[in-house]
């Protein structure tokens, strides 16, 4: 590859990058995150098209346009994240896309036999019938490698293949690489673990800022050379220190302190069988172990995200068994998870929202977020942690890994925690930011914070920790306390737990408990509801840090496209009104206004509930049926069919009870979704079907006609000439919009929609929020149901709210609320509903049949969603 250029939306990702790999050569490709390695690889494999440059493969100019074509030409790739199909069998995963066939049908037997044979080359003897998801990450990774190798490839690209493998598996992989090499296959090996490169690779290409900065033989280069070329500046690594940690505090001093946290014989499911550790304030305790040794499970248990099956935890001297992250947080514990993307950041939300997610309850009065206080907390932390962002409003997904991690650290630090659990705090972060974070961790510990640090990087453990515990297969097997801690000793303990360690380690007794702890603890934890201790959250001092947002061209573009997205809908609405003013006779009459308004009100009211539901990433199909239920109930009440009531009370209850019943059914939807983890579409489908049935049964399917002016005010009343339902609609929209923007509930709702797991781990009561949201949707539907029957002077359970779920969903999608959750615009839904209604009206007024209006409505929905998606991806 030579002179490769690639631009993404005006920003150069690669400029003049080149890469040369000889036949049968194992070639290392390294660089910091964002240096362009992945882009280069994706161009080679046809995933991206290059802007300029030339690729010569196997002696010929190579034009590749799809991963398929690259594969067919002998280039196979193993991507960093395992990219296989979890539910399908191992054999199927290996042969997907090039299945063996017999008479046009699949030949399962042959594929399975070949898969078994292939895996044996990797010392892997597993049942290839089983779904892949049943096996560990490491086995999945081996299957991915086996698949890639089995393509008779001439070039195999491995993007960080060893990140989820243990030492033994790594050595098997290296054997396979040697096999490949000897059969003339070339390998491109991408890895951040420099030691590995020296084992298998002959030559190396170093990339930085989208350029190839070094290409040469690995033998003549030292590790230090590689690191300095990658970073582009010399590190002060003359002392051999490779991390940014400052030397730990005086161990003798720490010894005296009372442990902040003590874990005894902890078991969690099958992953953790007997974990023991203790930690004092101001101490950094490292937790070492191979992947799958139970490290993360222990962290999650301390944080209340998983529950212990046996054992004892003590925190601040008292028994401790948090039932949820929220409990742990209120006791002063913070937890930065291993995987920022899946359970750390809420990608669509701003730096500000992400930073204060866990702090929100402290920033609010009566549920309303104090914007001022929030802004100053954010400004303070952006400054002290040197978070690089264009403004606190920048979506966090646009930040680099290191800066995202800093925001997540700040999320906990602003709560003034006593214990911070860090799971792989520097994974996937470039070298510069890594040092900054490491320095920060040391400084925090020096200030008295207890830190439990899980890491796979030996340097980090050895240089950063005051003490290191080693886990193996769910048991604590060793503790190292005397410095310098030897990397070799830790690795030996990780690998077999009983190695001949002489000096420093406290070795576990055969039964898995540490020898020092003669006292056996009781099995079985009694869950206590830890009382919220007084957490003193950090609140802004008088010093006001003014943050000057950096206006870049990029940023302005983003702002613009956001504005277009939002206001495009508004422009369309204005255009429609303008068109009608010009061409539709009598458009500007009170009657037209009324007709359109009454038709749109119900869609908007139901749409508001739907917007909130969709904001959490869900959907509510039951709204139409809930309208029917409310509509069926009201006449039964005010016509005194069951009990005789004074008429004023009867009417009052006829307003109240049906709405509450609909709300209760909505809550039931939420309960099904949160209690049984049923997908919203299925859970609400139940009431979609059964709800209308209930309404029909309760009225025997008959039309209930009535004449009850006092009740019908809700549909026919016109105080000051304004329809009552329009007033209801406006207040519902206003309340919901205010709630979304200003209350904790609104912010937490969107956080739960944007990244449920991250929100849960930040202490957001996700389940409660979801039940609330579905209940609100039910309440809205109930109100709409009453309005419909009041207008019609009759209630027909067969027809009330029929198809309403789809109308509401259409309004929400035209209004710009994405179905993926995490963003919601109630005003948008209002405008969306108005547009759909006005289009229909315009067509009817101009003599086009209603049926054709349906087709136009379909086109509007597709068009609106398409434009929004465009605006978003830019």
């Amino acid at each position: 590859m030579a002179g490769i250029h690639k631009h993404f939306s005006g920003i150069a990702a690669l400029s003049n990058a080149s890469l040369t790999v000889g036949r049968g050569e194992v070639h290392a490709l390294i660089g910091q995150n964002g240096a362009g390695k992945s882009t280069l690889i994706k161009i080679l494999t046809g995933y991206y098209a290059k802007d300029a440059g030339e690729i010569v493969f196997d002696g010929q100019v190579f034009e590749v346009h799809s991963p398929n074509a690259a594969q067919a030409n002998g280039i196979s790739t193993i991507y960093q994240e395992i990219n296989l199909i979890p539910y399908r069998s191992v054999a199927e995963n290996i042969f997907l896309g090039r299945e063996h066939r017999q008479f046009g049908l699949l030949n399962w037997r042959r594929m399975e036999a070949e898969a078994e044979e292939l895996l044996l080359r990797f010392n892997l003897k597993i049942d290839v019938h089983q779904p892949l998801s049943r096996y560990s990450t490491a086995i999945q990774q081996m299957v991915a490698i086996a698949r890639a190798v089995s393509f008779q490839a001439k070039l195999v690209i491995m993007d960080e293949p060893t990140s989820s493998l243990d030492d033994h598996e790594v050595s098997v992989l290296f054997e396979v690489i040697q096999q490949l090499k000897s059969s003339g296959v070339s390998v491109i090996f991408v890895s951040h673990k420099l030691d590995e490169l020296y084992v298998v690779c002959e030559r190396v290409t170093v990339m930085r800022d989208g350029r190839t900065v070094l290409a040469g033989s690995l033998g003549s280069l030292s590790k230090l050379d590689l690191v300095t070329t990658m970073i582009g500046r010399a590190l002060d690594s003359a002392t051999g220190e490779q991390t940014g940690f400052t030397p730990g505090s005086d161990p003798a001093l720490i010894e005296k302190g009372e442990p902040l946290l003590r874990v005894r014989d902890l078991s969690v499911g099958r992953k953790v069988t007997s974990a023991n550790l203790d930690l004092r304030s101001g101490e950094i305790v490292g937790l070492a172990g191979l992947l799958g040794s139970g490290r993360s499970e222990i962290a999650r248990t301390i944080f209340g995200a998983e529950s212990a099956s046996a054992g004892e935890m003590k925190y601040e001297g008292a028994a401790f068994a948090p039932k949820s992250p929220a409990t742990a947080i209120s006791s002063g514990i913070g937890f930065c998870t291993e995987d920022r993307k899946t359970d750390g950041i809420v990608p669509e939300m701003s730096v500000r929202e992400n930073l204060t997610l866990a702090l929100l309850p402290h920033l609010a009065q009566a549920g309303v977020v104090n914007d001022e206080a929030q802004r100053s907390v954010v400004a303070k932390f952006i400054k002290t942690l040197e978070i690089k962002c264009s403004s606190p409003e920048q979506p966090i997904r646009e930040l680099s890994g290191g800066n995202q991690q800093k925001v997540l650290l700040a999320r906990w630090l602003c709560l003034n925690p006593k214990l911070l659990i860090l799971d792989e705090p520097t994974r996937g972060i470039d070298v510069g930011a890594k040092r900054e974070i490491q320095t920060l961790i040391s400084a925090l510990a020096a200030d008295g914070l207890g830190v439990l640090m899980i890491s796979s990087e030996m340097e980090e453990l050895v240089e950063g920790s005051d003490r290191v515990f080693v886990l193996r297969e769910g048991r604590t097997v060793a503790e190292f306390r005397d410095h310098p801690i030897s990397e070799d000793a830790i690795m030996a303990a990780m690998a077999d737990g009983t190695s001949a360690l002489k000096s420093t380690a406290v070795i576990a007794a055969p039964d898995g408990t540490l020898r020092r702890d003669a006292a056996r603890s009781i099995n079985g934890i009694t869950p206590i509801d830890a009382p919220p201790r007084d957490v003193k959250p950090f609140l802004p001092s008088d010093e006001r840090t003014k943050h000057v947002p950096v206006e870049t061209k990029e940023r302005r573009l983003a702002v613009w496209s956001g504005r277009m997205r939002r206001e495009g809908v508004l422009i369309a609405l204005v255009a429609l009104i303008g068109f009608n003013l010009a061409f539709t006779p009598h458009f500007l009459s009170w009657q037209t206004f009324n007709v359109n308004l009454t038709q749109v009100c119900n869609i908007v009211i139901v749409g508001v509930g739907m917007t909130l539901v969709i904001g959490t990433g869900g959907i509510d199909l039951s709204v139409g049926s809930l309208m029917a239920i409310a509509g069926a109930l009201a006449p039964i009440i005010f016509q005194n069919k069951i009990v005789s009531l004074p008429s004023a009370l009867g009417i009052g209850l006829a307003f109240l009870i049906p709405v509450l019943v609909a709300g209760a059914f909505g809550w039931f939807n939420g309960w099904l979704i949160t209690r049984f983890r049923i997908q919203p579409i299925v859970a609400t489908l139940i009431l979609f079907i059964a709800g209308r049935g209930l309404a029909q049964v309760s009225t025997n399917g008959n039309l209930q006609a009535f004449n009850a002016p006092a009740f019908q005010v809700i549909g026919l009343g016109r105080p000051f000439g304004v329809p009552v339902q329009a007033l209801i609609m406006v207040s519902v929209v206003a309340i919901a919009a205010w709630m979304l923007r200003f209350t904790i509930f609104g912010r937490e709702l969107l956080a739960a929609g944007g990244n449920e797991e991250a929100a849960r781990l930040a202490g957001v009561p996700v389940n409660r929020i979801k039940r609330m949201v579905y209940m609100i949707s039910g309440l809205c539907a109930g109100m709409a149901g009453l309005i419909v029957i009041a207008i019609n002077s009759s209630s027909d359970a067969n027809l009330v709210g029929l198809g309403m779920e789809l109308d509401a969903i259409a309004a929400v999608s035209v209004g710009g609320t994405p179905f993926t959750g995490g963003r919601a615009s109630v005003i948008g839904t209002l405008i969306g509903a108005l547009i759909i209604q006005l289009v229909r009206y315009t067509l009817l007024a101009n003599g086009i049949p209603d049926a054709a209006a349906l087709v136009v409505k379909a086109a509007i929905i597709v068009g609106a969603v398409f434009i929004q998606a465009k605006g978003q991806s830019r």
């Binding site: 698949r147 059964a690 597709v862």
Partner: protein, 329 residues
């Protein structure tokens, strides 16, 4: 270590077996219940009526099953069936074959547009098919001029829905054949496996070199075509093309697929279990009729939706339990 692993694989396998066959077991139990309780439940007349009436739903659910396995959803099948019924009724004077091909082509056209919007414009299937649903209904109403269209009784068109062959209703033959083909396609062709792979992990399937968009295209095309065919049967059985029929069919089809154990997230599913799901939900109505016939109670037909809803709830709760257990194992 090895022993416990083997054991857990064993239990999880039997768990899968139960979950895969739970719907079949429930179906058999329901049939037994009906056979023991009602004299005429197993009478040929009843069986043939149930088969004849439910074959339309079966066809729609088959298409839905493939769509859901691919990780998508198709809300347009109900109104597409209505469009198919109108088109075939309009073409019925030209005979059964032309009517049938016409109805299926109309369905295929909707499916194709839906597929193109999903794969080319990258609009989520939920929204795209919602739009297709509205458009198909609009088209049906336009073609039918807002009323039902009588089919021609001069040709053999009504045979499709009302005729018998070898003692079985022709719609049942059609549905049976479609399910046989569907099952074969899913289990024994590369195409079927690709559908599951895409539903399981679309990005991975793409990186593995599958032509994801092409597979999706055929899935939605098939769904539309099957819905069109269901519409043909509808018109032929009831003697008229019905532009306003079919609303809500899509959700009943989803319910059948879910009851059949197919995961709504895609990547896993069974064609035969879907058929069992259709029959199960259909039999609830049938049994309700018989129960009223016994005279002990008098439940209005409206109860069937309540019972269906409850049934769906029990099934999904049962399934969610299994999934949770499997994840723990």
């Amino acid at each position: 270590m090895n022993g416990s692993k083997g054991q857990s694989a064993q239990t999880s396998r039997s768990m899968t077996l139960i979950s895969q066959n739970s719907v079949l077991i429930a179906l058999i139990l329901l049939i037994l219940f009906g056979a023991l309780r009602y004299e005429k439940f197993l009478s040929p007349f009843n069986i043939l009526t149930v088969l004849r009436y439910n074959s339309m739903f079966a066809l729609v659910s088959l298409g839905m099953c493939f769509v859901i396995m691919s990780g998508g959803i198709d809300l347009s099948v109900g109104t597409t069936a209505a469009l198919g019924s109108v088109v075939s009724a309009l073409l019925s004077p030209h005979g059964a074959w032309i009517g049938m091909v016409g109805g299926m082509s109309a369905g295929a056209a909707v499916g194709m547009i839906n597929a193109l919007v999903i794969t080319r414009l990258k609009i989520p299937p939920f929204i795209s098919s919602l739009a297709a649903m509205l458009a198909a209904q609009g088209a049906a109403l336009l073609l039918a001029q807002n009323q039902s269209v009588s089919v021609s009784y001069d040709t053999d068109f009504t045979v499709i829905g009302q005729g018998d062959w070898l003692g079985f209703p022709i719609p049942a033959w059609i549905a049976g054949f479609a399910y046989l083909l569907g099952s074969l396609c899913l289990n024994l062709t590369a195409g079927g496996r690709k559908v599951l792979a895409i539903g399981g992990n679309e990005e991975a399937a793409r990186l593995m070199g599958l032509r994801v968009d092409r597979v999706k295209f055929f899935v939605y095309l098939a769904s539309g075509t099957l819905a069109g065919l269901a519409g043909v049967i509808l018109a032929s059985q009831f003697g008229a093309g019905q532009p306003v029929e079919g609303i809500g069919w899509e959700l009943f089809a989803i319910a059948s697929v879910v009851v059949g154990g197919t995961l709504l997230t895609g990547g896993q599913g069974s064609v035969i279990a879907t058929l069992a799901g259709v029959l199960l939900l259909g039999l609830i109505f049938n049994i309700l009729n018989f129960e009223n016939g016994l005279g002990w109670i008098s439940l209005s037909a409206y109860w069937q939706s309540v019972v269906r809803g409850l049934f769906l709830m029990v099934v999904v709760i049962f399934q969610s339990r299994l999934v949770v257990k499997r994840q723990r194992a």
